[in-house]
């Protein structure tokens, strides 16, 4: 072994995860000063096209990589996402119709930085929904408003937002930027063989067209088959289908009826008897899919439910023109994400149903953790790996608990939903928290890590969206609290008057662009 410093970082895989890794690493001058970055991509591997929803974190990620928001919006068919809406998750639909829904907006409840407003909402829960009472953004979602105006700069917000995007186009934009601007070395070739040294650290990969590519740190972004982490190191997947049953999806791309049809400014998740349907609005089309458990539903049954759903959203849809794709996945995550000098990021690390769009944000969080703990020397890797694994395991567990929360509070009666409520399927930490939240509201102390995936605010939006109110003494409403609620309604009114619709702003950006400041 000639040297143990990190001079060459090799990324395997050219999807969103691979190019985000390349972009974020190559945008750090202190890293690329000493090391070069190479991305190896197999030819003709279709990108899976999941993960079309991002979190607000993506704004900072793109900024760091150095891509302007205008360019991103124009090239990725992207639109603005201000949160999620859950339709029919509380109760069974009556006569096939369900009017009940709630929001999980990206904006924090009003006054969140100084106090917990939730207990003051309980007394008025019959008059106004939790999210409408504490977040003006909910009203913007109701009317499919954009989260900003054309006078705002790139990435500047009126209300907090992330994106819906076309993952294939996103990978293309990142690739173009990484290669042209960040001098990432791009190799299109199959990885035939993994070569390791006497410590079982990977020293090189043998490619079919470009020979031997040596490296010091290897990032496995090769998707669910895990070229390095799984196929080479055989790090097992810890399956999670005993908690979250969904392991299949059927998906379809749906054109808009016309140029006027509203573009949803939230991800709409509509509950079904055996799963749920996502509905995501891009600029040029919708992405709609049904995610379900193969134990409770057949592929044909899922397709029927998907088509049923589509017909409720658009009356004159020509179904014969639509191609329904089928997807299978094993919900779970690796026992280790960082093994020797190999780090799994993206679907090679783990995958869970797309509820709450955790896929891309986990890529971003993992990369931020890696960048904050970047090895300058191979000898530091074991300690950094341990830290990375602990952090990432913690995040996966919290995500799984939070997703499970959406199911356990439901009163839906089908076999699938009942199975979700079986105590043995619920993580013990969630059982504990649910017991606590029968008497008090989720708050900061319930989640004490510096970088939690989901904050207490998110738990409040789900719990109170599903009308799980704690037994709580009636609270006196001080004038200052009334003012917070009033301000929130005022903000909503002002925002509605000023904000364009999602579609209007996207059209404006296509025509004029936004300014960088």
């Amino acid at each position: 072994m000639a040297t143990s410093t990190i001079n060459h970082i090799v990324i395997i895989g050219g999807g969103s995860a691979g190019w985000l890794s390349a972009g974020l690493i190559a945008a750090q001058p202190h890293l690329t000063h000493n090391a070069k970055v190479t991305l190896i991509e197999s030819p003709n591997v279709p990108t899976l096209g999941v993960g079309e929803g991002t979190w607000p974190t993506m704004r900072q990620t793109l900024k760091t990589i150095g891509i302007s928001e205008t360019q991103f919006i124009r090239q990725c068919d992207a639109s603005f996402k201000q949160g999620s809406r859950f339709d029919g998750w509380c109760h069974d639909a009556k006569n096939g119709e369900s009017n009940e829904y709630y929001y999980h907006p990206f904006s924090l409840p009003v006054a969140y930085q100084s106090l917990n407003i939730a207990p003051y909402w309980f007394a008025q829960h019959n008059a106004v929904s939790f999210s409408h009472a504490v977040s003006s953004q909910t009203y913007f979602c109701d009317q499919n408003k954009a989260p900003k105006t054309h006078m705002h700069a790139d990435y500047q917000t009126h209300a907090n937002y992330g994106y819906h995007l076309d993952a294939g186009k996103f990978a293309q934009l990142l690739q173009q930027h990484c290669v042209d601007k960040l001098r990432v070395n791009h190799i299109i070739s199959h990885v035939d063989e993994v070569i390791s040294d006497e410590d079982d650290y990977i020293s090189a990969v043998q490619t079919s067209d470009h020979g031997l590519i040596t490296g010091d740190l290897f990032i496995d972004c090769s998707g669910h088959h895990g070229r390095l982490i799984d196929k080479y190191y055989k790090v097992p997947l810890q399956t999670q289908d005993h908690i979250l049953f969904n392991d299949s999806a059927v998906a379809v791309q749906v054109p808009y009826a016309d140029d006027e049809q509203e573009i949803l400014s939230y991800t709409k998740a509509t509950a079904q008897d055996t799963g749920w349907v996502w509905d995501i609005g891009l600029q040029s089309r919708r992405g709609v899919g049904m995610v379900y458990s193969s134990k409770f539903e057949s592929t044909q049954g899922a397709k029927d439910k998907l088509i049923n759903y589509l017909n409720t959203t658009q009356s004159d849809l020509d179904l014969s023109k639509l191609t329904i794709r089928e997807l299978k996945f094993t919900p779970g995550y690796r026992e280790q994400f960082w093994h020797k000098n190999c780090i799994a990021i993206g679907m090679s690390a783990g995958f869970i149903e797309p509820l709450e769009a955790s896929a891309l944000v986990m890529v971003e969080l993992s990369l931020n953790t890696l960048l904050a703990n970047f090895p300058t020397n191979r000898k530091a890797m074991p300690q950094l790996a341990k830290r990375f694994d602990q952090q990432t395991h913690y995040r996966w567990q919290r995500i799984i608990e939070f997703l499970k929360l959406h199911y356990v509070l439901s009163t839906r009666t089908s076999e699938y939903w009942q199975a979700h409520k079986a105590p043995r399927s619920i993580p013990s930490a969630l059982i504990d928290n649910l017991a606590l939240w029968r008497y008090q509201s989720p708050w900061l102390n319930d989640f004490d890590r510096a970088q939690e995936v989901f904050s207490a605010a998110s738990y409040q939006y789900i719990l109170y969206g599903m009308k799980q109110l704690p037994q709580f003494p009636q609270m006196k409403m001080p004038a200052a609290i009334i003012e917070h609620f009033t301000n929130s309604q005022q903000d909503a009114k002002q925002g509605l008057a000023k904000l364009p619709t999602n579609r209007q702003l996207l059209n404006h950006i296509k025509k004029f662009g936004l300014q960088p400041i």
Binding site: T149, H150, M151, F512, Q515, I517
Partner: protein, 241 residues
């Protein structure tokens, strides 16, 4: 509101344009659009600021007359406006650039034409500059206007490149004008942008050369110098209070 029509020498043959400036001719305005080639002349009389156009969100440059809507602090007591240099966007009034689609063998072609704002108080049949000659030919005045409109069109086309280059070098920063009313009340007028002098001072030779070659460097310094006109405008504001 605006009543824009295509100018022609039949319907408009007897019209004249009052070219005097002042309150009664619609000059009670707080700003007018200007272009980098005008900055040298404008900076000697008015502050130059940038802002995002309210319709397009794109940057534009303005010469300021006042700090509130419809406030022109350069009008004299009689309401007359006498400027050493009248910005092109005001010289053109009441004419505008219009676009016309003509079909050349079935292929649409855009051409520029002169439009007239029929609602302008400057239009009348008695006094001012004749638009057309007796037999329908263009007056010298109209020829001048055509030149002004043509220059405006060219400057308009060139403007995005100016801002693009400034933005690429981080040379633009937001700023607000803060002033005190005579009664002590503090007022902040926001939404303006100007040159970031700190960034300008750290540009390297290559960057400066590029700005110079684009003809932008002079405009940048003129925009900075023009901010010294803000106190002059404020003095007028206090004098009126």
């Amino acid at each position: 509101m605006a009543n824009h029509v295509l100018l022609d020498n039949i319907s408009h043959k007897d019209l004249k344009v009052i070219t005097e400036r002042g309150a009664k001719w619609g000059d009670t305005i707080s700003c007018t659009a200007i272009f980098p080639n005008e900055f040298t002349k404008v900076q000697a009389q008015q502050p130059i600021v940038f802002r995002k156009h309210p319709n397009t969100g794109q940057f534009e440059a303005l010469a300021l007359f006042g700090f509130e809507n419809n406030e022109n602090l350069l009008l004299d007591e009689q309401g007359n406006l006498s400027l050493n240099y009248l910005p092109l966007s005001m010289q053109r009034q009441p004419f505008l650039i219009g676009q016309q689609t003509q079909y050349n063998q079935g292929i649409p072609e855009q051409s520029l034409v002169v439009h007239l704002d029929l609602d302008s108080p400057r239009l009348n049949q008695e006094q001012g500059e004749a638009i057309f000659l007796e037999h329908g030919g263009n007056s010298d005045y109209l020829n001048h206007i055509a030149q002004v409109l043509n220059t405006l069109h060219i400057e308009n086309q060139a403007l995005p490149a100016f801002f693009e280059q400034l933005l690429a070098l981080n040379l633009i920063e937001a700023f607000s004008i803060e002033y005190q009313q005579k009664n002590g009340e503090k007022v902040t007028v926001g939404g303006f942008y100007t040159i970031n002098q700190q960034v300008l001072n750290t540009l390297n030779g290559e960057q400066l050369q590029k700005l110079q070659q684009g003809g932008y460097l002079n405009a940048i310094y003129m925009a900075i110098a023009s901010l010294e006109q803000i106190p002059t405008l404020l003095k007028n504001k206090w004098a009126a209070q």
